[in-house]
Amino acid sequence: MDIAQPLDKIPASSSEPAAGKAINVKEGVDQDTPVPAKPVGNPFVDDPKMKLRDVEVFYGDEQAIHGISLDIGKNEVLSMIGPSGCGKSTFLRCLNRMNDTIDICRVKGSLHLEDQDLYDPKLDVVELRARVGMVFQKPNPFPKSIYDNVAYGPRIHGLANRRSDLDEIVETSLQKAGLWKEVKDRLHSPGTGLSGGQQQRLCIARTIAVSPEVILMDEPCSALDPIATAKIEELIAELSENFTIAIVTHSMQQAARVSNRTAYFHLGKLVEVNDTEKVFTNPDHKLTEAYITGRFG
């Protein structure tokens, strides 16, 4: 450029794109956008609690999960997100063999909790579910007292020999679930009489009463109001100090708030696994981006 070029010779002003130019769109993303053969990001971690390799799930002839490989790290909170029908709940239910209850469901692949093969035919499923507990979408307390709801697991697993031991387990479990203060004076009234949020925390207390290593949560807050949800999320953060947690959620804000890593599922495949912060600010795959920004779902 010439030195001392007069200002009026300067090329056209940049206010032009403001007036005329539409927002730049090249190609769209939709349900048919191809899913990568291998997930992008970091599906594997250094010290896995659960190692899941080439997991495939079929309902009859219908394949619901297509070869997913993923680690769940010790004491991490892994959230699984994705549109309805993407297989995230199905995948979660493989992790403590809840899918066994569905006759037509077949699971293939290698699934390990530390060194234990989850699908070893000799494995006692009840034992397994004590190590890998589950919290469901709707709070489902037993039609028993608050005390008995929490004491049920330790009783059947023989974790307490004396009444005082059982009392202690019930108290600490309710404390860890953040429910103790609210129910300590009515331990023998029915669990079903609690509010929805309290019932869900009761279910969490019931789950942790048997000292599991992993807690699976399938949309644990979708039936709860924002306050109860906040309490559960707070609880998840505290529980992650002692437990490994895998959570399926439809609330992306919840995944962003509670988890260390986030896995995005799409049409029965794993698209992306990354640190949660990365997924929600700058995801690697455009399908993940499209989903979390609400471009399809």
């Binding site: 403001a18 992306m252 700058n282």
Partner: protein, 239 residues
């Protein structure tokens, strides 16, 4: 991801909200750009009326800054945007602030123009003002275009240009300092030119900031406080 697909949300209102932010920001950019042109013309052609106009537009720019900030807050609160949408809102908020500061700097130049008109023109420095003024104006155009088109390459160019402006500014300073030593009677008037040059150089810095925000918006890379070379490396690596 170069493709931000801002108009593809399930919620059309969200599309409209984001487009509105973009449009408002570019309108504000247009105003500030005109302020810069007017301020430089006012000081180089001793036009006090034009300088007054710059001061009047400054109020409008301030008001727009506040409104656009409110709109960004609203989108954050209502939509909880994520990923590229989140980066879009954050980038708009940051660019908004840089544009407003550019307006402030243009205002300083306009005030100097009025002052010089009242107290007699400076003996030197107009060539430099015109030259650096046009370089900086180019930078502002490129920075706003890089935002309008989500054009990362253009944004990197702005960073290069900023180095050029810094060099030109330094050499102008040397020359004017020498002149002031030779003719001390001119010091107060030449200082007005120096302050104006300084304001233009700052406008260039703000344009470079905008370019960094554009790179963040499009690539998700934070390229602040690194050399231009490193910036280029990171941008190329992310392709």
């Amino acid at each position: 991801m170069d493709n931000l697909n801002l108009d593809q949300h399930i919620s059309r209102q969200f599309n409209a909200d984001l487009e509105e932010l973009k449009t408002q920001l570019l309108e504000m950019g247009g105003l500030v750009e005109q302020q810069i042109i007017d301020a430089v013309t006012a000081i180089t052609s001793a036009d006090s009326d034009l300088a007054e106009k710059v001061l009047v537009v400054e109020d409008e720019v301030d008001n727009r800054e506040v409104t656009l900030d409110e709109n960004c807050t609203m989108v954050l609160a209502r939509r909880q945007p994520a990923a590229s949408d989140l980066r879009m809102v954050l980038a708009v908020a940051k660019i908004n602030r840089d544009l407003e500061r550019m307006g402030d700097e243009a205002q300083k130049v306009a005030k100097m123009a009025i002052h010089l008109n009242e107290h007699g023109e400076a003996p030197r420095g107009y060539v430099e003002l015109r030259h650096i003024g046009s370089l900086v104006h180019q930078m502002v155009i490129m920075a706003l275009d890089s935002f309008a088109r989500f054009d990362v390459d253009l944004a990197v160019k702005v960073a290069h240009e900023d180095k050029k402006v810094d060099q030109e500014y330094k050499s102008a300073m040397r020359e004017l300092a020498t002149y002031m030593m030779e003719d001390p009677r001119s010091i107060s008037r030449v200082l007005n030119i120096i302050w104006s040059l300084r304001a233009l150089e700052r406008i260039g810095d703000h344009a470079a900031n905008i370019a960094e925000h554009v790179i963040y918006l499009v690539k998700g890379l934070d390229v602040r406080h690194i050399s231009v070379k490193e910036m280029e490396r990171q941008v190329n690596e992310s392709d």
